[in-house]
Subunit: 265 residues, 2 copies
């Protein structure tokens, strides 16, 4: 993708997130603003699907030859090198109960590699975009560098929920907790952003779908956050394979290797 095309995609992604917010915030507002206490899981699906339909239609209109891969609706395969990946509401459980940490994720994959990604937190009015080399927060480029050289015992680690791990994975993650400074449960996509903006140092998860993680990679890589699977390999997308990713995202190589050693011990 050349520079002009990439610039177009940047703006297109911002427009997508704006359109999506109009739908998702409407559903979230029911919980936090109108105090609709009868709220249950069905409206969540409704807002998820409405948002994904809206995003798909805009993508198909602007990039009719690309592939589309989403959480809620059947995928579209056009034999293109480019695939759009959509998760209208990552952190559905948070959305459901009124925690503002859920996000909308949209990423563009070239062949097997995520090249640009956006994550929007509508309830926090925060949008992140990254293309592997540059990272933007609320459309403003972030210039600092976060790489540091510390180890697991000084690290704050996070993972969304114990129930997302398999038995062996949970055992290994509990080992990580026991070595780390602090552990934080819950958070979904928000945890990954806290690797850049906050004091989280590593996020470790199992059983993630492509739309749960791939849009984040170009954002994280742009700020030198390392993202690999539990073998230390890059996460690759394959349209035709149903992959569950095991993920380690961390702030520096020393920490990353230490986590890999614990997990593969």
């Amino acid at each position: 993708m050349n520079k002009t095309e990439l610039k177009f995609v940047h703006n297109f992604l911002y427009n997508l997130s704006k359109e999506s917010r109009n739908i998702t915030l409407n559903g979230f507002a029911k919980v936090t603003k109108e105090f609709d206490y009868k709220y249950d899981s069905s409206p969540v699906t409704k807002y998820d699907i409405q948002a994904e339909k809206k995003l798909r239609n805009l993508i198909i209109k602007n990039f009719p030859n690309h592939n589309v891969y989403g959480e809620e609706i059947d995928n579209i395969y056009n034999s293109s090198d480019y695939t759009w990946i959509i998760d209208p509401i990552d952190g559905t459980k948070s959305f459901l109960i009124g925690r503002p940490l859920w996000g909308t994720m949209i990423g563009l994959i070239e062949k097997n590699n995520p090249i640009i990604g956006l994550v929007d937190f509508p309830a926090l009015d925060q949008v992140w975009l990254g293309d592997g080399s540059k990272c933007y927060f609320n459309k403003k480029k972030i210039n600092f560098n976060i790489s540091q050289n510390f180890n697991l015992s000084k690290s704050n680690v996070a993972s969304t929920d114990p129930s997302m791990f398999g038995d062996r994975g949970l055992k290994k993650y509990n080992e990580i907790i026991s070595i780390s400074k602090n552990n934080f449960w819950s958070g979904d996509c928000h945890n990954y952003i806290l690797l850049i903006s906050g004091s989280l140092d590593a996020v470790i998860e199992e059983n993630l779908k492509p739309y749960d993680i791939l849009p984040l990679i170009p954002i994280l890589n742009a700020k030198d956050i390392i993202v690999t699977d539990w073998q230390g390999k890059k996460l690759k997308f394959n349209f035709h394979k149903n992959i569950n990713y095991k993920v380690i995202a961390s702030k520096n190589t020393k920490l990353h290797n230490e986590i890999l050693n614990v997990i593969n011990d």
Copy 2:
């Protein structure tokens, strides 16, 4: 306390939270806005203590004869029937890593009973106040009634962290999880507010200090949320006893009794 005094306390609490925000948001902004990646646990203590000092000074100035009981600084006992309870940053761990769910809690106790409480979420710009009969969100009275008659299998339950439970407590809470519809970790004081504003139905915790829970009670009781210890008894304050509370807060009697039965089985 008569009506005029109570009205004065309402406004006084709002003023306290405003003053506290000036200090705490300054610390939190470092994480989320200025991306100070060198942020560690020491500044948290600094903002905690600064905020508590500010709140104490305002309380002492306005109510020189009352007692004051806080998280960070030595308590003041004046043999008064009234005790102010302060937690400048509840959810310090969230504050530390950049999750916006931390809150400032301030409550007034008459003898052993919390009679008015405020919880402020500076990063969300949300303030809750309750006096046992009336509940206000961002200074606006909430008029709906949330009481419903459902059981644990249809309920969303939450607790801040597995590590806050003792062995027996964690075993019991895991039983609760297995029966419930969904479980949510993390959240601190924000979980209790989601009993009113969101789809959380019960919050269960062990090892809470007076400032972690008592300011919430007049807010929750005003909206018919039931709050008891694990024996089903009301939570009582005692200035001279170091009490660790075990708490169940839930939306209706049926659910509350079911939880009590599981926990005391």
